[in-house]
Symmetry: D2
Subunit: 366 residues, 4 copies
């Protein structure tokens, strides 16, 4: 069954393999009248581009986006926005060997079990390059949310066991360094740790956090389409994410109600919460506080140490992976988490527009 589309109203369909002709996305359901050009997309794509860091694969990928439809005279038309990034740096020869065996921690085995064969070049459809489509769509969602005053900001919270300190929080720092951490000190420690991992022919994981500010209350649906449920799906659909949490997350399980509940208080005529253990969502619906979520990424499975595995033909072998691989994907994944969050938030804002009779009447009687 098809699984390449995300969203109910703002619908994002990605396509493409690591070593095919290109990677792309169709965004259907984007409202008409949003100012948009290729530069708006490119700045987001550049944030996930490899080659700029010693901790990212040294493959050169220009990743230039072309908008093929849905924009006219600088504005979205309300019809599908198709975007294309041609693949350019394709050394398929690097991958011919892996056609015959299953890399541990990768989707090689599961693709073969599902489809009977696979496009083995660079991971094919399960390659991280698939996220180009997500990031391009996320750029549009972020721009649209910006028009409504809502901002979505992701950053690296931890690498290996090294966590940022909220006291040092500086988002500009995160956008400049090689870790994506908004804390210079933690970032330097993480760099040292990553060098150690590389020296050991090993890889590392980490945590990406994302915050949504100026979120209106009342967004999300009560039962299966809870805002946090959809955020969980969005984030867990990113390769290598193994856990998701909202607000206090895992810590809530060992807390008590008296400490976990957030009191409501009036701030002038506005209802606010004294604390934000809930992470901005109550009963699946936004409560007007900042939304805070975290994604836990496993270490890159492509490591240069010897590993045991089996061949397609059912023989035990020992392999040593070659090629160009990120020792950690977290810094490049920050913008992917931001993109998926923005897409989800926007989709649910649009879904919410039909919730109330009085607002529908008002809408159609203006």
């Amino acid at each position: 069954m098809s699984g390449s589309t995300f969203g109910n109203i703002f619908k994002v369909t990605t396509w493409g393999e690591s070593h095919g002709a290109g990677i792309g996305v169709v965004v259907d359901g984007c409202p008409a009248g949003l100012a948009l050009n290729e530069e708006d997309i490119q700045v987001f794509l550049d944030r996930r581009k490899p080659g700029s860091s010693q901790f990212a694969t040294q493959r050169k990928e220009a990743d230039c986006v072309e908008i093929l439809s849905g924009v006219f005279e600088g504005k979205t038309t309300g019809t599908p926005i198709s975007m294309l990034v041609r693949n350019t740096s394709q050394r398929s020869s690097d991958y011919s060997e892996i056609a015959s065996y299953y890399r541990p921690g990768h989707a090689d085995y599961t693709f073969d079990q599902k489809y009977g064969f696979r496009d083995y070049r660079g991971g094919g459809r399960s390659s991280g390059r698939e996220t180009i489509g997500r990031v391009a769509a996320g750029a549009i969602a972020s721009k649209l949310l910006g028009e409504l005053g809502i901002t979505v900001t992701a950053y690296t919270q931890a690498i290996g066991g090294i966590e940022i300190s909220m006291e040092h929080f500086d988002i500009m720092e995160a956008r400049q360094n090689q870790t994506g951490m908004p804390d210079k000190e933690a970032s330097q420690k993480a760099e040292a740790y990553l060098k150690e991992c590389m020296a050991n022919l090993d890889s590392a994981g980490g945590i990406v956090a994302c915050r949504v500010s100026h979120m209106p209350a009342g967004i999300g649906e009560p039962v299966f389409e809870k805002l946090d449920a959809n955020l969980a799906k969005a984030i867990m659909s990113i390769g290598a994410v193994k856990a998701f949490e909202i607000g206090d997350g895992t810590l809530a399980a060992s807390a008590n109600g008296s400490s976990n509940n957030d009191s409501f208080r009036m701030n002038g005529t506005k209802v606010i919460k004294s604390t934000n253990h809930s992470g901005g969502i109550l009963g699946g619906i936004s409560d007007g506080s900042e939304i805070i979520l975290r994604a836990y990424f496993k270490p890159t499975p492509s490591i240069f140490q010897k590993q045991d595995t089996v061949t397609k033909d059912g023989e035990d072998i020992t392999i040593q992976i070659k090629g160009r691989h990120d020792p950690i994907i977290v810094p490049r994944a920050v913008v992917v988490v931001e993109a998926m969050t923005a897409i989800t938030i926007l989709d649910m804002l649009l879904q919410n527009m039909t919730a109330r009779m009085d607002k529908i009447k008002n809408f159609y009687q203006q």
Copy 2:
């Protein structure tokens, strides 16, 4: 927008409020020819029923299910299965007071923000009673999975800070005690802890784990409909769940590739993994190992201590909640996690049937 339906092929639509006429569910897309009767459903519902434990609300809820359609001569017909549980123990008077203010940690405020008003009786649609529909549907999914040899088993892994030990694991214990823990010793500690919470007019949270055994490899879709992404949505859509993880989950973020990767090995003609850090899913597709997931529940928000909040009219007040409330929802939530897992696994098994041309040809040429 509508948000009360879950699943793409095996579609589950729940309806009903805590103090309305009843609670129900329509299961559309259940294959024809599955033996099914009301007793199959009732045994699942009885597992979530309150009143049988000192740690659950003392409300008496018979929760007897009636199958209204979709079953003929003891077998499912392939058409929608509608199931109804009448509400009986409704003391709406308990709730009249809460119409005027917003309980901390509940969805009162967010519902009002979304819809302009709410059915305030017992939480209305955001009540835990909504999960009756999920459990009834999950009973069908579990039975069908059983026919394919797949079993889904959930249990309490932790309450507050008290965790089970896998060395003591005994699932029969979990089905008999009041905590749902498959470890007698841990369960007794947890009981003592819960009594302490109750003495403090406080509440507790915990962790529910769920395992899917004998899962075939190749189930799940590569990109947005990853098996783990859908499980995450399913589980996070249960009220009070604040985090979700698969396999090593949050721990993977601080691991290295060399320890996190699972080696493949041949076991006769079968491919197996030497370890199962992945929790049975690689690249969003089942790898043939046991699927392991965990749901982190926050403490029950209804506590009997004094709490600060605001009224609908915008005044700061202090409240003290009355009535009958679970000091912890985890033991009763075990079967809900099991149900949502079963529904998701089944839906994706059905989705997978169209993945390969050779199997489609075989299907239509038999």
Copy 3:
């Protein structure tokens, strides 16, 4: 796969068989704040009730609706509205015979081919009683559309070869007579024709027309979700409908562009069309004129003449159907066409709310 849900935002899920415990529907996605009670639904159900006409089955069906959820203090809450009609007049014995063979023109054979067996009592799920759920949902949609000033009106346009004359058009007449024709003279001719059919142990078909007045321009989506495409699906999903047309419909195929095009003209500050060959839809989007559609119904397949057919076991036989059957379903189908039209129009009005950036900004900044 599941096929019992219609609509994207205003989602209607019907369930139930002719001779099961009952028939019902869940409406999910109805906006909060619509005044609604059971009487609003019952008046629609009474329009499809048999037993009131000599041309309808003499089965007695009370068809009393109960609203089980989604309405609180007389208003919809935004959560699913579940409605139930218990089956009461069930003489299953009438149907035991048909378990063994396939009635011509019915779905007996195709259900057995699809599912391996069927609930043969009264047609089971393919019975006309399934439309009770549609009509109940349509009652809500119609009421909501009425709040926006939009009216949906269906009537019988033809029975056999007898057509109404638009010069005699009187909708009150249609609501009182036994044919549903808004033309007394035509209705009397049709009655005579139907008596003749009954005398011949035969049945008749006919045409139902439906008009949507005060429809705003701009509703419908350009490509696959065209307003007319969705109306076509809605109407063709009613059992026994064999053709659907919009505006001039089949006649357009033999017209010329010069006669088929509708000129635009200004009427004060309002754009109007000089004619309405388009039936109110251009390019799949409403043009502000009245929407006009027609559904062509085949004759009731249950006739009392001898017919050739085969048994489940593969023998040629001749049968003579007994029991109580409508000689024509058209008069009772009028309200079903009206219901499906209202549901579709409403769903697309709701879908349209996210089409424009300026309106979204306005919505969220009020």
Copy 4:
């Protein structure tokens, strides 16, 4: 809301405008292992290409397709197949004038009403060029159906009032002449009629018929996802189609049950129908006979006669359309009807695979 995706399992998403960078389609959910190359697609696209007939626009459109993803080593991989056709013959200057007014019979006015503005070049998204994506997807669906022994064949049944005779039926003729009619005599009459229309600066409509042969019984879902309901939506979503019918269609409304019912008979061990008034579908499910449907197309709205209309600024004007326009779209629409039929049939074949427990068990236990 998004409306550019068709299908539940075999999902087709088209994008692109007449005068944008290109036109394309993403097919998600195509099973893995189907042999496929660009030539398979190109032969279908060539059938809708203009420039080869005196009755089609004289614009030169090469319409060369590029497969960008989803095919590896000559076979589909189960992941999205993205296809791109670059626009080449773009004389936007032809269209600058129409930016200011609304062409009668076109979607200009309705797009402006919906979106606030429109891409006016060549009809933008509502251009017939959008069907390139449908035809490319239909080529894949047809090839896959062919592997299952199912063939889909469309042809022109009528132009203006001129109908083919089934006695002269010759599908090879239809593929060679300029009308798409499988009847040489009728085709010649139609050519004469079209020349007359062109001499009168006028346009013509017609009927396209489509037949699906070797269709297995049991395909389609009982209620809203009836096979004929989905075919109706598929066909009515093609621009300019004003009516849809299945089997006897409109004629059924004036028939009697005794003549409209199809008797079942045994043919050896096979159940067959003596006649096929039903058009191969009973109760929304295929009955094993040939499926027969018809689409009624209105005359091309772009005619060269003077026409009354209004400007965007609300002034009455008289216009005379220039440029290159088909005097009839029917011959080029034949392959579009065939494509949409193939897509729908395939999608419902795939949906049907989960209908029966015994077949699911068999599938997973092989």
